[in-house]
């Protein structure tokens, strides 16, 4: 193994003693295959046991370890040291309150996720059968991409609108609603549109597109939001110009 070391500058905040966050620097050995999370674990195990952060799967699927690395929201388990200079600055995800160190308060996100009715709402006249429903591969493909969100919230940290207007439902929640709206088995679109195609919903989005750029799972929430906008505009025209046409 090499002698090379990198310096991790980690945001520390202890609510019981600090009035505001500060940075603490740790020298960490460099390994070609290490990710920032490995470096944090090294610090936790060998240098400073008081550092707190969230992590679990180490394979970019549980969504726990989102943080800012050199100013960019990333999953710490997928941010390789080799892709960074020798000075690496690690901060908690932007736009979320800091509970402690790299741990953020995500109550707001959790509440928004629940608000968009992210579950299948079957048609009222659908028989309550216990049989499997058919769905062709093409119908599945229509929404599959939007099912891949791991709720890591990098998109919220990247979205300037969310930073400026915390009421904004935000990329992941709306993309999830869109996922159910596009599912051939769902009949709940009208209910969801009332929530997402409103103020605090898609119309707070100005299509910066940052959410999609940072999304580690290529969900493309920005695309989802624009599609919701278009659909909602079409709805409006249909309703006001062609009231005789059923949606």
């Amino acid at each position: 193994m090499s002698e090379r070391r990198v310096s991790l500058e980690v945001l520390r905040y202890d609510p019981e003693t600090d009035s505001e966050p500060r940075f603490q620097r740790y020298p960490v050995p460099y390994h070609e295959e290490w990710v920032v999370l490995d470096a944090l674990n090294y610090i936790k195990d060998h240098l400073d046991t008081t550092l707190s952060y969230r992590w679990s799967c180490h394979m970019a699927v549980c969504g726990s370890c989102g943080m800012m690395v050199n100013g960019e929201p990333v999953l710490a388990c997928k941010a390789f040291l080799r892709d960074y200079p020798d000075e690496i600055r690690v901060e908690p995800l932007l736009h979320f309150p800091i509970e402690r160190d790299l741990v953020t308060v995500i109550d707001d996100f959790m509440a928004k996720l629940a608000r968009v009715k992210p579950y299948l709402i079957p048609a009222r006249d659908e028989p309550a059968s216990a049989a499997e429903r058919r769905q062709t591969p093409a119908e599945l493909k229509r929404f599959k991409q939007y099912t891949l969100c791991i709720n890591c919230m990098l998109c919220y940290a990247a979205c300037p609108e969310y930073g400026l207007m915390p009421e904004f439902l935000g990329p992941a929640a709306i993309a999830l609603a869109h996922r159910y709206n596009r599912d051939s088995r769902d009949a709940g679109r009208d209910e969801r549109q009332e929530i997402i195609a409103a103020n605090e919903g898609v119309w707070d989005c100005s299509f910066v597109g940052a959410c999609s750029e940072v999304c580690p799972k290529h969900v493309d929430p920005a695309g989802a939001l624009q599609q919701v906008k278009i659909a909602s505009t079409v709805d409006w025209y249909k309703e006001h110009l062609m009231p005789w046409v059923k949606k």
């Binding site: 905040y13 309150p97 493909k141 229509r142 300037p160 100005s206 910066v208 597109g209 624009q226």
Partner: protein, 130 residues
């Protein structure tokens, strides 16, 4: 209670300086003003036309002046940037699915450019450019 979550304030006026991608976004938004500026020039031209031949000739001369040409070059560059930046994001807003696969983004963007060229040619044709 010992909890005391710390909230980092976001600057309402300088937030876009933090990230190149935010700057690019601001460029896309701000360049729309150039389209407006050109529309104003057009309105002004119509006004001059209504004021008679002399006024209109003066307007045309102003357009042909170095300042006028410079203005048009800048406005054109901005308008092109604005247009291209929007065309390039159209595949996100308007994905086209055929069977199990999606039409590639390049095709959708290309179709926009194609339509743009066709419409421009039509306008030029109507204007008697050919």
């Amino acid at each position: 209670m010992s909890r005391k979550p710390y909230v980092r304030e976001v600057s309402k006026t300088r937030w876009f300086l933090r990230q190149p991608r935010y700057m690019r976004y601001m460029m896309r938004e701000v360049t729309c003003l150039s389209i407006g500026a050109y529309a104003l020039v057009l309105v002004l031209g119509i006004k001059r036309l209504s004021e008679g031949r002399a006024a209109y000739e003066g307007f045309l001369q102003a357009l042909a002046s170095p300042g006028g040409i410079l203005f048009h070059l800048v406005v054109l560059a901005f308008a092109l940037y604005h247009t291209a930046s929007w065309f390039n994001v159209t595949p996100k807003a308007m994905p086209v699915q055929i069977g199990e696969s999606f039409v590639s983004g390049g095709v959708i963007v290309g179709a926009h450019y194609g339509a743009w060229i066709v419409i421009s040619l039509a306008v030029l044709l109507l204007a008697g450019a050919f």
